[in-house]
Amino acid sequence: MGRLLKYLRLDKFPTVWCAGCGVGIVMGCIIRVVDKLKVNPDKVVIVSGIGCSGRMPGYLDFNTLHTTHGRALVFATGLKLAKPSLEIIVVMGDGDALAIGGNHLIHAARRNVNLTSIIINNWIYGMTGGQYSPATPRGAFATTAPYGNLEPPFEVPELVRGSGASYVARGTVYHTRQLDRLIERGMRKEGFGLVEVLSPCPVGFGRRNQMKSAIAMMRWQKDRAVSLKRASKMNEEELKDKIITGVLFEREAPEYTQEYERLMSRVKTRKEIGKREIQTGLGEIHEE
């Protein structure tokens, strides 16, 4: 029954997520891609921060790491550098990745370590009860925005692209098959890849903003999302209020762990021995 069930920690189900929460849909995409790419589950690591999205690793039968709020990418960076053979997927909420974790996001993008990151953007702090996030649309209501949010949200792909990322994509949970492809391409990419996923939080966001159910929110996605290809044929008027999905940016750039491997072989074979070693007898440090 269900070939993909083997990737799940069945005894932890059903999940903690509310009915209709999009996080579970993204989780499905991840296991389909891992399965398709035939990655050895023993090599897969799922790293998350804190939030509803942050609970995902607990349900996936890989190496899983539920870190502190906002810091998933730095733990992932350490893991990847220490053991480049790991296939690391980092799952973050919008608050997690963009608010408290914003610095790590832009630096991971800049440093270009081979990680696949997914921001589950539900426009709200779901876990803590619906406060506005740096992704909440201007004017939307939240528990800390009782009069409507004054702050403009990040345009996530712009931010990450501006930080130097080598792969930036956006999808929605409604467009599930496309999302599979975007995540797959992110995982295939040698370098830092980011997929922003629009995902409904009916309880934290929808309720307060005239979208009572996950269905309404997914219908919104259906109506608003336009693939980059289609968008390129639309005029400005038509594009108003639309959200562009697909691979929004991609480029080739040196990947950090590979650069580091290169450095190591370069310096290991260096002939001259530095002053430091003469003084300290460290010339022998290779003995062990």
Partner: protein
């Protein structure tokens, strides 16, 4: 090897780390710790290790925990302001039992304070700095050579007890150069982590074992498990079962208490017949021993107690000594931190006098000698 070299405390940390098998360092520059990173940035890649400069100290601390989960001995180094920023993730390492070493080279405080000058203002923070009630191991060297040795000890203690361990230096020790003869790195004793011997499907990453230390698998070697900073049961998954929580938290905290004697490292000088004890750690103990010798020369029976392992605090030693002493002098470069611990442990059974200094200068032997004379 066995050739003498003139190196600083910070360099000794770097060499000690390499000797102990540290192969991952993540850090963010800060005076007076930066030479540790600088030295390792040069040497790590040559030994197959990784050096990475992170965007800040929060990131550095997170990265070493990540690297350690991959099975690599990991370290970071910082000073007060950065140490404050690491606190949340230090708590995470404690909760998830991920071995790692944090070097804190203390500089003058509070706040940005006196970046290039020594202090011992972070001693209590080392014990209590993170939220939620953790427990701590911290070692505190007084010489360059001991810095090398204790760095190795820290790595070993971290691996042995699955804990973040703090090496607490002060600016004097970090920047002071001394002649040392380092041992051959190959001969250095290394404690390996306890690894699981069971089948992956039977692995309990937070198993309640007889020794209170669960075996630790590396990510990527087939033991797929879950790590979370939430309260978790032996399987590693979140629990809100009061009993399981109680068991977890008490075990984590209790590990250190249980192995207290094994962890504790004390150095005593001239204590056998001492009537006046000088309690000092780090660079101040250099002044202290000097003062003690001078006092002896003047016929005063003084001695030195130096808590090499500053946490856990050597309560028992102090308590035992309290009855046989006339006075204890606690000399430290802060406004009274370990003196509180000494007070508690000795419980008014002996006169206690503090010698403090917070102006960025090392306490001098004279200041301590004056105090000795005062109470003798």
């Amino acid at each position: 090897m066995e050739k003498p070299a003139l190196i600083s405390g910070n360099e000794a940390v770097a060499y000690g780390a390499l000797a102990a098998g540290v192969r991952f360092f993540a850090g963010y520059p800060i005076t007076p710790s930066s030479e540790i990173a600088e030295t390792l940035s040069e040497l790590l890649p040559r030994m197959g290790g990784k050096f990475v400069q992170m965007e800040d100290e929060l990131a550095s601390m997170g990265a070493i925990v990540g690297a350690s989960l991959a099975g690599v001995n990991s370290m970071t180094a910082t000073s007060g302001p950065g140490f404050s920023l690491m606190q949340e993730n230090i708590g995470f390492a404690f909760m998830t039992e991920v071995p790692c070493v944090i070097v804190n080279v203390q500089r003058g405080g509070p706040s940005t304070g006196l970046p290039t000058k020594p202090s011992q203002g972070d001693v209590m923070q080392t014990r209590w700095g993170t939220h939620g009630g953790c427990n701590t191991i911290a070692l505190c060297p007084w010489s360059v050579r001991e810095t090398f040795d204790l760095t190795i000890d820290c790595v070993n203690l971290a691996n042995r007890y699955r804990l973040p361990v703090v090496l607490l230096l002060d600016e004097v020790i970090a920047h002071m150069r001394e002649k040392v003869v380092l041992p051959s790195f190959g001969g250095v004793k290394k404690v390996q982590r306890k690894k699981p011997t069971c089948l992956p499907q039977e692995y309990l990453p937070y198993e309640i074992t007889e020794d209170d230390i669960p075996p630790m698998a590396d990510f990527g070697e087939g033991y797929r498990y879950h790590v979370t900073g939430l309260t978790h049961d032996p399987t590693g998954f979140p629990t809100s079962n009061a009993k399981e929580i109680d068991q977890l938290v008490r075990r984590l905290y209790g590990k250190i208490e249980r192995y207290r004697d094994e962890i504790t490292r004390i150095e005593e000088e001239y204590l056998a017949d001492a009537q006046i004890l000088v309690f000092a750690y780090g660079s101040v103990s250099r002044s202290a021993i000097s003062a003690v010798k001078e006092a002896r020369a003047r016929g005063i029976k003084a001695g030195l107690l130096r808590p090499v392992s500053i946490w856990p605090f050597p309560d028992k030693h102090i308590s035992r000594l309290a009855d046989q002493l006339k006075a204890i002098i606690v000399a430290e470069m802060n406004l009274g931190q370990m003196i509180g611990e000494v007070r508690r442990a000795s419980c008014e059974r002996v006169k206690i006098l503090g010698v403090t200094r917070v102006d960025g200068e090392l306490i001098t032997p004279d200041e301590i000698l004056t105090a000795i004379q005062e109470v003798s």
